[in-house]
Subunit: 135 residues, 2 copies
């Protein structure tokens, strides 16, 4: 179970099953105080975290972990309510001599098999991705 508590104005704190908190707030123009991320940003963060954990975990099993790793996400949203994400582009950026084929295999496995956030959001948004290798 997850419980979300109201902290006044537009601030909310989710208490998750693993016993952690996720805080959200709105921008001042809609009554918030900008003290935490917006819910739709948190949704994107979940997608990024989900696929990132897959990729790091698979590369680790292949004995080719990256030295550093990040994901940059660009997105477009619908103009009318509900303002869903219509397209999401993930740029997986690897540093530190990760064999290209291993990185591709890890990302493809995550996107086609393991990442549940991606599997859910793909029903609404076009999810695309690319791999970038930096020294």
């Amino acid at each position: 179970m997850l419980t979300l508590n109201w902290n006044g104005k537009m601030k909310f704190t989710a208490h998750t099953e693993s016993n952690h908190e996720v805080v959200m707030d709105a921008s001042p123009d809609v009554g918030g105080e900008d003290k935490a991320a917006r819910p739709m940003e948190v949704l994107l963060a979940a997608l990024a975290g989900c696929t990132a954990m897959d990729v790091v975990s698979i590369l680790d099993k292949m004995k080719t972990p990256p030295k550093n790793f990040r994901i940059d996400i660009d997105y477009t949203k619908a103009r009318e309510h509900p303002k869903i994400y219509t397209s999401i582009h993930l740029k997986y950026v690897f540093e530190g001599n990760v064999p290209k084929e291993n990185a591709e295999k890890a990302v493809n496995l995550s996107q086609t098999k393991y990442c549940s956030a991606s599997a859910m959001l793909r029903k609404s948004a076009e999810i695309t991705y690319e791999l970038v290798f930096e020294d």
Copy 2:
């Protein structure tokens, strides 16, 4: 744009467009250190925050804000990969004499029109909800 940085092991920090952070970690049995919520919990938190902001905001416009408010979420997940949520049940709990019809209108508007997280996740999971009024 959203950027997700790797903090070692299974810990990741998302930096959102509004300039806030969302931290995620995995459980020790899959190589994490349990320092923050799991990505799929963060996805649910986003759903809860999204619809909660709608509801509080709509009730505020109706001049009938709740004294207190929370959302409890129960869910079931697929057993096979990708382990998506197959059903999500939201219990909207209102305290403080909110007129029932206003609360119902606010929740229905959020679920059918405004909440983009709900609109996206509903394509994969059956989303149901109920309203509870506490003194």
